[in-house]
Amino acid sequence: MTQNKPLPPVDAQSRAYWAACDAGQLLVQRCEACSHVQHYHRVLCTHCGHDKLTDVPASGTGTIRSFTVIRRAVSAAFEADVPYVVALIELQEGPTLMSNVINTPLELIAIGKPVELTFERRSESIAIPQFQIVETSR
């Protein structure tokens, strides 16, 4: 368990999302009217405005849309991790989310590379989605 790193301030609309993360599942929202898929949890569809949205488990696969290697930590809690990767992951279902890319040598990280979901436990009730490069020929 990591100490002192920020925990997401869970709210009434995101409770189901974070509860699923705690149980090892990443949820996205699908609009019942237009089938648009979105991240993060909202009370309306950003495509058509409809208010009936269904929680759908994401497959957990995606690609790196962009990334950076943080060389100067944002706070003391992250100093031991330097250098660490912050990335935008485009899920197979369409939406993008921010993540770290963990358990992966820096030289393997590039835009377009396939990644897979894992979780990092931050507290007894919070696990945050994380991604790692899909092992191929190794």
Partner: protein, 389 residues
């Protein structure tokens, strides 16, 4: 269009910048306001509107109201800018609307902060990175340079650009700063210097990142019919436009295009000018790649061509289109939210033909563009001399 030429900037002022430990952020804001009012040939009692932005070092819940109280002023129009760098020009636009609508006659816009000496490095870092989404971004430990590095990496990938293209922006800005006695960084730099500076968040290096400063600046905006009495030549607001895409970078539809495209189109339409009519431009340069994307979105360069523009020296002093003639956030100063005020005061000085060694020849029309968030909220303003109205 209604607003074109209906208001003018008649007063400008800047405080000392860099490390200014002997003035609080509030005092810097007040100093700049009073000096701009003096520059306009007015007294505080002649001003009936006040706009400020909040300070990170010395915040108030209601900042402009607190500064009005400090000044002993009872403004008819009072507002605090709230959305980062782009808000500087948004509030200029809104003040012009308030004047045009007859709500007030003369507004002083003053912004200052003490990011350098009023906060510790860690405080400044955490404060600024709180622009990330608290649930979906902040837990991953990105810094502000880190958020912008995501854009930088995407730009390199999309256009086959190189870090030299980013470095060229910093080199160009420094050349202007070397001609500006008030700039913080006045030692010439080369592309090699930028590429040899340490990595902060790949691919961004130290010299791709803007400064962290104390300082403030102010302008006085009034109705055009009152502007001719001012001691200095009025500089007219010809056009303004805003554009917004996302707030958080993980929600951006594109990483290499921004809503500068819409803000620019709207400002050019109101001003009745084209990108080719602009004599100089001040482009928000919190990080070097942002300048490239904004130049392209504003139509000042073709897509993917802004890096070569800077490598050729086209944005440098005496170049085809001088960019950030005061040295910008990269080399002049960057006190956070007030940063782009200095682009505004510099633009007025250029159109007044009072910019000394760095004066752009025949400067009649200037464009200023700023954004806040992470390439999120954009505002473009076109300014012009009396002859252009």
């Amino acid at each position: 269009m209604g607003l074109r030429g209906s208001t003018a900037i008649i007063g400008i002022a800047e405080t000392a910048v860099g490390k200014v430990p002997d003035r609080s952020a509030t005092a810097l804001c007040v100093d700049a306001a009073l000096a701009a009012i003096r520059d306009a040939g007015l007294k505080l009692s002649d001003v009936d509107g006040l706009v400020t932005c909040n300070s990170m070092a010395q915040p108030y819940m209601y900042h402009a109201e607190a500064v009005a109280e400090y000044l002993g002023m009872r403004p008819r129009y009072c507002a605090t800018a709230a959305a980062g760098g782009g808000a500087t020009f948004t509030v200029l636009y809104q003040a012009a609307l308030a004047i045009d609508a007859g709500i007030c006659d003369t507004v002083v816009i003053s912004m200052a902060d003490s990011l350098r000496t009023g906060l510790s490095r860690e405080q400044a870092m955490i404060m600024q990175s709180s622009s990330g989404h608290a649930q979906y971004e902040t837990p991953y430990g990105a810094t502000v340079p880190g958020y912008y590095a995501l854009i930088a990496q995407a730009y390199l990938h999309a256009y086959g650009a190189s870090p030299e293209h980013f470095a060229a922006v910093a080199v160009s800005g420094r050349k202007h700063a070397c001609l500006n006695p008030t700039a913080e960084m006045r030692k010439p730099i080369t592309i090699e210097d930028v590429l040899a500076s340490r990595l902060i968040a790949d691919p961004l290096r130290l010299l791709d990142c803007s400064l962290v400063s104390d300082g403030g600046a102010a302008v006085v905006l009034t109705r055009a019919d009152r502007a001719s009495h001012a001691p200095h030549a009025p500089v007219y607001l010809l056009g303004a436009g805003e554009g917004r895409g996302h707030e958080h970078i993980s929600q951006a539809a594109s990483l290499i295009h921004s809503s500068a495209r819409q803000s620019g189109e709207r400002a050019f339409l109101m001003a009745g000018v084209k990108p080719a009519d602009v004599d100089f431009a001040q482009i928000y340069d919190c990080f070097t790649p942002v300048v490239l994307i904004e130049m392209e979105d504003l139509g000042l360069c073709g897509q993917g061509e802004a890096g070569d523009f800077f490598l050729r020296g086209d944005g440098a002093p005496g170049g085809r289109l001088p960019i950030n003639t005061h040295g910008g956030l990269l080399s002049h100063c960057h006190p956070g939210n007030p940063g782009s005020m200095f682009a505004l005061t510099e633009s007025v000085r250029q159109i007044r033909r009072g910019a000394g060694e760095r004066q752009v020849r025949d400067a009649e029309i200037g464009l200023v563009h700023a954004q806040g968030g992470i390439l999120s909220s954009h505002c473009t303003v076109v300014l012009g001399s009396e002859r252009t109205v």
